[in-house]
Symmetry: D2
């Protein structure tokens, strides 16, 4: 079988049906584990995006008026389908992203957490009600869906991120347009069919495949009320600035440089195990991956590096078809090249290469985009590999003298997505939690990603906009509040005009 | 005594002291009731703004670390001082804004509502705490102040708006920089002294007077984390787009075209009384002023217009020193000219002038910027006077056939700040509340401004950004959330590395 | 086939298995539609109840420690099973309760609403977290399950009430012991098996069948931490007083006398349709059934009575096997006798019998416990039929002069479960909502039962105890709060003893 | 001056005025620091209590209808008066309770925390509002005050507890009747005048002095809707059982046996300082006083006891007029006798007397009810002094082997009010927080009393009833919820009767 035979032409998913692209432009979808092209995704024109938006807009009023209980019933059904079809979904994720089956399964389960949060929409949508705020007026508030909202997803979680940034949007009554990464469009199209099967009305869930042309239409189109984005920091910034320039509400989640602070009192064996999975899992292609260790104390640094060295030597990389592998390839050859340049650059800047993963053995037999686990130490905060997010398995060890120095080093970094600390000391943990300028914080937790019913979001240049992604704040991002002041006077009462500004208080001087 | 003798040179208020301007540029402050210049306000240079920001930034960490109970104690004291000094404050407001004493008093009382909301900061700042979200991890969240935040206030509420957009910001631990309107800087400087007397540390409350140069520095300066603004829609849009271009969090409140729907079953006498105060109070210079009546039914329209005509003829305008006047002048001669142009234009477009206030009697004896109450009917949605916010006492009557038409007309307007309806019908009120695309809605309430412990904010082009101004959402706007996942393992436990994405659920297929 | 052949001996459900009764005492379970005995339920001894409690207590710690996500996963599965098995469940409900299939289906759907509410337990269980409340102390709270809790259910909703009063209790981590009504034990045993199939650990869900002996053991046993009850007011009062005498937390929901106020401006045709279903549905055996109409104005009263008379004449009663019937029999012959005595008594006290349902036609051919729809007018508040809850299809019309009189008559009644009003007037509705001393209020709604994510509960003698049943408050009833004040001092700080009462505020004199 | 000359006859405070008692029965009020009688408090008859309740009931509707903003304005004013008059109040507290000035000041500040919480009533009273829960029904809830509520306060906080258990009750709209301890009625009468001066309407705040006769009337009287109580466990149990027997809502807070767990890794110097103030402050007459140390490890126990011994020797007791004293007398001679009996009994049961405070030096010169700080070690959980609350300065040291043993010992105690732990270990703190069966928990905090905006309340026999005292839950305790389902149909719609149970969901099988 040749590549050509296997390759499939994908579609968009518009108004409840798969729709072929009309632009004649396509993006190739790879199986990163084999290096083969497995499909081509159409790249939408501005016109196609406009039409999809119009259809979504037409579907919105009906969905908005659907009672919340009925909307949630669709989510229950969708949840059930995700569980029933998870093996198929795992296969698709693995094929187009290269991650291991266990990792794909974990991503689905996390995605379901977002659906669960969305199922609690009846709670999340409640407004506030006050009786007689003065003058027999009752005041109350209600949350309304925004209309058509767009969401732009990254390649590294083909299912979890789309679920995370759309489930609540759908539940509270919006029509959602998802532009998945052109690297991983297949999973997104698959879940489109599950939404339909679950009973979601046509037009409420749309997938448009595309590149910058489609994105720009979403950012500029007047009918799009809100944009949520997950991806790299430079693109997140672009999305935020461009979306808000068109007066939209925007939540744009960027990259992370997530350190694990290792305290001298930590159990180094446990900490190293935590580091390995959190740092190299999914070939480090997670915005919440641990980027490096900040080890407090010279001696601890040496011992921790030694333990890591020994353990990393035993890691296995390869295709998802092998259940023994710890992680798979990176997403593309270009991505692999970029990571190798970071490693080369770090060495040039004076870092020491503890473990070199640039030419992994598996590349001798496979054309997949593999990189072995790489560890550098003697890294300092002025090096590029410290300052920038590296989206692949090149991780660093940085030595510091004190906890205060560790905190300062992190607080001076421009990113502030996640951070974790391993220690036994309550006082160290308290100081760390309080002073660290990072949005998601762990203590003795490998990856400090919050559970789905708490908010997800970084600080500094890791997130642009007020909103959050998972969690209770999401309902707020995808709705607008209306406040009503209601009075029912006796028809016979005598009134006069009041020209002063109205207030119900009676403040004594 | 000449104008020159009376005129006072104002200052900024930086780091707890009054600081003279250094730019040599000034803005003249008028007493609109007399047309005299009463003071000159310095216009800050970019450099002066930068310095003020640096001092605020230096003060921030200490205030942030102050326990919330102690911060709130300052607000209690400030509240007490506002009450004790309200007569002085009323005098200042009246002098620089032209509003009546009763109106000034109402604005102070409303401002205190915002202080009260801020006093509840210990409740508003609470995060969420979950025990054992899986793997013995506890997950919890905390809200942190943002740092230095800027707030840009309009002329029409010299005290209320500054209190509304800064009290909670201060309470939750930020350092605030207020740029008041250059028309009304005196009140802002006065409350600065109350903050200081209340015990607020130097640097936490700053007033810089200025024009676009100062505003642009606030919008661009990296140290400013958030911008809140109240003013006209075009400026609100500029603030939103420029602030977000610099990656800031922005809430920008613009203008309104707030209609009163008059249903055929309404008590027209009561409704007309409500209309008068809500439409002409403060010379209509309120973003929540009623801009016009949308009267349902030809006959009702005629009767309502007749009643209005009779009642308007009895209104009295003049200076705040006369306790009998219903409202005073508009803020400047330029503003007066603009309003007159709107009236002239409406007539040219075919509107009928029911009452003409363009040349009020008082102008024969006073140089104040007076305009009499003006009423136009036969106004249609395509006229400029319908489409744009008019910030002065030119109000309109628009006839419609049905409630549905009234709703459609409003929903098609680009502004969506406030709206109200007078009726006895529960069904009409329900339909209206549900379908109207406006953020603040009243039923049988003259001005649908929510009470201070509910959210304030319009829809469409009346508000840019996710946040709200008054009310519980404000605490959220002025803080960022940190989510912590904490685990305290037994030191002796055996662990392995987990490369799959972590989840605590156990979803059965 | 004889009754004996059909009759089945039921069990308890203890520690995950069906357990035969040991007392030798049984209660007969009837099919009310045929009058036949279909099963016998064992009546537990105190000793059997004690053992069930011990097994529940033993199971509790493991369930409490199970992460909330995993507990909720069981509820998702349980929900799915309820949907899959609903036809079986409908058949059981119909058989043992006599209600129609549609009615049984409605009860299941409502029961699922309670499961849905319970699925939101991760939100409901969140405590509050405050940083630095003073002295660097963080204060936070957590909700813990209570332990073993008992719930005593009525016959009229064999599935809905058990789900309503146990789902959240289970979700937040308690072990639940249900004593169903001895009239309808079969459905409760059926759902026990669904819990088990859903993965609920043995011991967390227990059914003990029994009578007062079992109830008293539950009320007195030290290991039972909380009691929830739904039933008649006298028993609710006994449960509250006895449970609290043993220091338990108790929520006891009693009966209702739920009036429909009919205003002169109401659409009488619509109102009468609403009345019929709400008053006679399920043979009026609902604590939220409409007991009677309070009609404002003599003329309206007459017209409304005439419409009702005509419509009632067309109602059809009979067994659930006939899909055409509007409602079925009452639960027992004793119940039928009681209702007839109420009707007879009302006539003796001067009421007028508009429609007589005491000898319905169907009784000529069936031994089922049927009563036809009965309507009395000329009823006054001093009559027994006005003062007491009648649990069967004898409904009344009461005339009043004004809305105020209607409100007063209701407020003077000792029960305060539900009430509704039909009107077009916003002012009438507002006055009614505000002044009525009743816990669940409707406006133009036939049965004012709140949706499952709002609280359910009456006032006055319709509910004893602080708690609620459905809705968000339930999580609170089934948990206790722990408040933690945590500080992590620097080990080297110098301290002194503080003998004064600690406070973090700094109040200025 | 003789005692007779100084002695004052006190009154009740009913309907806004001081009212002399009519029973002829009085209770003597002592100055515990001198042993002299300073006043006599009238003991109300049942009849007097009934009349007070009637007057409160008459005042209730007007207060309930007062807009929340105006009610809160009274609380602001009351707060201001408490601050202005705090020196007078401190003098009264010291005189009638014997506590030091600093301690009295601390109690007032804490009391103001409760007023602050009550000032946030507009937030706390908000109900929930849901749009279109199905069938175009809007569902919402509102909280109503209960009516007349009674509150029974202990002697040990003459001001803080009355403020804590009444401020929110007043704020949310109830009429409150306070029965202060007959030991300390003077402070309660003083704050009554402040309420009046603050503008509280007559009848909303009532003080009746009395003994069991008055208490029983409050417990039995039908017009009393809720009882809150703070005192000893046996009386709390009586109050709970008797109040609930009369169908009231009751929150009854009892005693505590609050241990400080001292871990081997704790800084013993810091811990001992914390222990001293928390254990002996206010002569140990606090329900949150530390009753004893549970020291983990033999060696730590010995060292901790040695440090305590040395430090206790330096404590100074005496009258509040001496600013140097660490604590004053106990409340009465009877109380002193009881405490001495506990010490004697402990020695008889085998405890070792480390420091003997039974005959403090000051008793040679003063008739005040003084007891010196007493410390016993070798105490075991089977001794009476371990099992019972001792309301005076006899404290114990108990040795345990492990943290687990410490937790078990505490969990087996019948009381569960407060507990604290001193340690540096995050893991120890986590295990402790999670497993301890106590309502208020501290970590490295001397007295684990939560800040006023968190809930206060113990577990097990330290609290009876669902409610809390301080904090956000209090608003719930003092209100009842009404849930409203509102629909406004089109008058022309055609309807049919629905006999099945209504539900808005649409669950698919």
């Amino acid at each position: 079988m040749t590549v050509q035979q296997k390759m499939k032409t994908l579609t968009h998913f518009i108004n409840g049906v798969e729709v072929a692209g009309t632009s004649g432009r396509f993006s190739e979808v790879y199986n990163p584990s084999t290096g083969e092209v497995i499909a081509q995704a159409p790249l939408a024109t501005k016109e196609e995006v406009k039409q999809a938006i119009q259809l979504a807009k037409a579907a919105f009023p009906g969905w908005k008026k659907t009672a919340i209980g009925k909307r949630v019933e669709v989510l229950h059904h969708f949840r059930q389908l995700l569980i029933e079809k998870q093996d198929e979904l795992i296969a698709l994720i693995c094929e187009e992203s290269g991650k291991t089956r266990e990792d794909a399964k974990g991503e689905i389960v996390r995605g379901i957490e977002s659906v669960d949060m969305a199922i609690s929409a009846p709670q999340m949508l409640k407004g506030e009600y006050s009786v007689n705020v003065g003058g027999n007026i009752n005041a109350f508030s209600a949350k309304s869906p925004l209309g058509v909202v767009a969401t732009i997803a990254p390649f590294n979680f083909p299912v979890m991120v789309p679920l995370a940034i759309t489930s609540m949007a759908v539940a509270v009554g919006n029509a959602v347009i998802l532009k998945p990464s052109e690297r991983v469009p297949i999973s997104a199209l698959f879940i489109s069919k599950l939404w339909k099967e679950a009973g979601l009305p046509d037009g409420i869930w749309t997938v448009v495949n595309g590149d910058k042309e489609a994105v720009n239409e979403l950012l500029e189109n007047k009918e799009i009320q809100a944009i949520s984005f997950v991806g790299s920091t430079p693109v997140a910034e672009y999305i935020y600035q461009t979306g808000t320039k068109h007066n939209k509400r925007v939540a744009a989640f960027g990259g992370g440089k997530n350190f694990m602070i290792v305290m001298p009192d930590a159990n180094l064996e446990q900490t190293a195990n935590a580091f390995l999975g959190a740092a190299y899992g999914a070939a480090s292609q997670r915005c919440m991956a641990i980027s490096g260790a900040l080890v407090v104390g010279k001696d601890t640094e040496q011992r921790f590096t030694d333990i890591l060295k020994e353990k990393i030597a035993q890691l296995k990389i390869g295709p998802y078809t092998d259940p023994e592998v710890d992680f798979g390839p990176v997403i593309t050859q270009q991505s692999k090249d970029v990571i190798i340049r970071y490693i080369d650059g770090a060495i040039a800047e004076g870092a020491n290469l503890v473990i070199d993963g640039r030419n992994p053995k598996i590349c001798e037999t496979s054309k997949g985009f593999y990189l072995g686990p790489t560890l550098l130490n003697n890294v300092t905060p002025d090096m590029t590999i410290f300052k920038e997010e590296v989206f692949g398995p090149a991780r660093i060890v940085v030595g510091v003298q004190t906890l205060q120095e560790a905190i300062d080093v992190i607080n001076n970094h421009e990113l502030g997505n996640g951070v974790t600390m391993f220690t036994n000391s309550g006082a160290a943990a308290r100081k760390f939690q309080e002073e660290i300028e990072v949005g998601m914080v762990g203590v003795n937790v490998p990856i400090p990603i919050p559970v789905g019913y708490h908010n997800f979001g970084g600080w500094k240049r890791s997130k642009f906009g007020e909103g959050h992604m998972f969690g209770p704040d999401q309902a707020r991002f995808f709705t607008k509040a209306k406040t009503i002041s209601e009075r029912w006077p006796d028809e016979t009462e005598n009134t006069t005009s009041t020209f002063a500004f109205p207030s119900n208080n009676d403040v004594k001087s």
